[in-house]
């Protein structure tokens, strides 16, 4: 049922919507923190003595070993009870302390992550956004232009979406970088240059950017195009489209209506699937030895660097939760049905 709303109460309802969502995400975050804290503690044996002997390879005095050991016991709070350990873990998080890396001792985890994050952010975000936009436009076109586009685009999109990001990356790397020698084979920039804002460095970074970017974009385009095609077919079969047609409205106008209605679920769908997508797209960095979070995670896993692994997983979780929360807010702004649902909830 539709009710007339005065602007003040609309705003209040929107605020209550955001408040509720925020509370829910906070709960999810606490749960994610518990997982992130607890699971690595199930590792069998005494990882710390293993790690210490690994860091201190080659004739280190036992005094140094003991000091290293004590540092980590204190950092993990292993001498305390599990709930107390969790509280000190959360306390450390709030102070921006994610512990000390095992493999790059004594570098703090936050430093390593801070170095890698800009690379991942600059690669993943634009690639996913561009892939989303291109995919949705293509999907809408495929739904509208039945024959030619649909029969070529649909199987092609499905095939692209069946290859994981990193596998497509391997193919692009081999054909374009190794066989044809058009692009660099590894890294985020020319190793002879230092990281700076010079034209040469930016040019080199852009050159190294092309292939990893293309791998993520192409796979995303495939998935989005399929989803959008289905959504658009649903809309094209609906009564209002038939009505518009019978009124003699131009196809340009109809396709705009259809696009608007079909694209909304695609936005939330994308936000929700981000948790799945992010795995494949981060692993793409490994293929290209791209200096981002995916590469850091890979090295950390190889060297059993638990603090660094936990730092990576926490960062990925935060990014996905944050993106979902932002999407929820903007969705509440765009789609009046969300606010209407809130009104109905308040009325019952």
């Amino acid at each position: 049922m539709l009710r007339t709303l005065n602007p003040g109460s609309t705003l209040r309802r929107f605020a209550s919507y955001i408040g509720k969502r925020f509370g829910w995400y906070l709960l999810t975050l606490v749960f994610a923190l518990v997982l992130n804290f607890y699971l690595p503690r199930l590792v069998p044996g005494d990882p710390i003595s293993q790690i210490v002997s690994q860091i201190a390879t080659g004739g280190v005095e036992s005094e140094t070993m003991q000091r290293l050991y004590d540092t980590y016991v204190e950092e993990f709070g292993l001498d305390k009870s599990l709930p107390a350990q969790f509280l000190s873990y959360v306390g450390m998080l709030f102070r921006g302390n994610l512990g000390t890396s095992f493999s790059q001792y004594p570098k703090p985890v936050t430093r390593i992550l801070a170095d890698a994050l800009p690379w991942s952010f600059a690669l993943q975000l634009p690639a996913l956004v561009v892939g989303w936009i291109v995919g949705n436009v293509l999907g809408a076109v495929a739904a509208y232009r039945k024959r030619v586009f649909d029969h070529v685009l649909f199987p092609l999109s499905l095939f692209l979406n069946s290859i994981p990001h990193y596998a497509l990356g391997i193919l692009l790397l081999y054909f374009l970088a190794v066989a044809l020698d058009l692009f660099p084979v590894a890294g985020g920039y020319d190793q002879a240059l230092t990281v700076s804002f010079s034209a040469r460095f930016i040019g080199s970074a852009a050159y190294h950017y092309v292939l990893p970017f293309a791998s993520i974009v192409l796979v995303t385009v495939g998935g989005q195009a399929i989803g959008m095609r289905e959504m658009s077919i649903y809309e094209l079969n609906s009564d209002y489209v038939l009505y518009c047609r019978s009124l003699g409205l131009g196809s340009g106008k109809i396709i705009r209506y259809v696009f608007k209605n079909a694209v909304l679920p695609q936005i939330t769908g994308f936000a929700t699937s981000l948790g799945m997508v992010v795995g494949g797209s981060l692993v793409t960095e490994i293929v290209f030895s791209y200096p981002g979070i995916g590469q850091v995670l890979f090295t950390a896993i190889r060297q059993s660097d638990y603090p660094l692994i936990q730092g990576c997983t926490l960062l990925i979780t935060l990014a996905v939760l944050g993106a979902n929360f932002l999407m929820d807010i903007s969705y509440g702004l765009i789609d009046p049905r969300i606010r209407a649902a809130e009104v109905e909830e308040a009325a019952t």
């Binding site: 829910w24 690595p40 069946s162 290859i163 994981p164 190794v178 948790g275 799945m276 990925i316």
Partner: protein, 279 residues
Amino acid sequence: MIDLLKRVWTSPKARSGCVVFACVLAFGLLGPLCLEAEPTDMVGELYEPPSATRWLGTDNFGRDIFTQLAHGTRTSLQVGLLAGLIATLIGTAMGSVAGYKGGLLDAVLNSVTNLFLVIPPFVVLILLSISLRTRSVAVLAVIIGVTSWPWVSRSVRAQVYSLKTRRHVDIARISGFGTFAIIVREILPYILSYIVMAFVLQVASGILTEATLSMLRLGPYNAVSLGTMMSWALMFEAVRAHAWWAFIPPVLLIAVITFSLKYINSGMDEVFNPRLRRT
């Protein structure tokens, strides 16, 4: 069930998808039986190109790629099918109980589902994998299955919710049947096509997830999979050494398996979802 399969067979998409998947399945099942060598046998030199005796050449340890491919396909299918089965069972149970019961139970189950939908399964899988004592094929399939059910649960719940006010369900309720009997006899048969479709997609995503974990070197420790083959090829610079036979076959095979499954799913969608048919 037979009726369902007959209707699926009417879709050309589902039909061709099934044929391709059956071929891959045959390769994964019969290949390891027909080939005498083990995938770990070192039979030749480093990166030998394809030849008459070694159809797809050798890898960095001189192991036969074709043999590995057959065993790898089997492993990937095992993980995918088992993980898909687990995810579909958990998701169907959670979704149907939540959708049918409603109320507080629904609210609780739905929150749990949404919780696991937002926390990246990738992250949970990494945390689980690094803390496990062993990572056999079965263990890997189980952990992939138990982290990927929320999608199934959500769509099953929506379907059950729209079905539970049907008259035949009411009659069963009045006749005194219990919740379990009503769900199994009066509701699930009507959404069987959705459950099968969800299962098909879960198998595909299980195979991809295993490959992703293997790329992070968290794959099965006791078997070759398509993912571990890609990971080894990358680690030992097959790409930069122009040894295309070491990585193109597993990449293509993974794409073909998931493509065939998604094609089946899309064909089924057109059969069971009249709104998707073009007018």
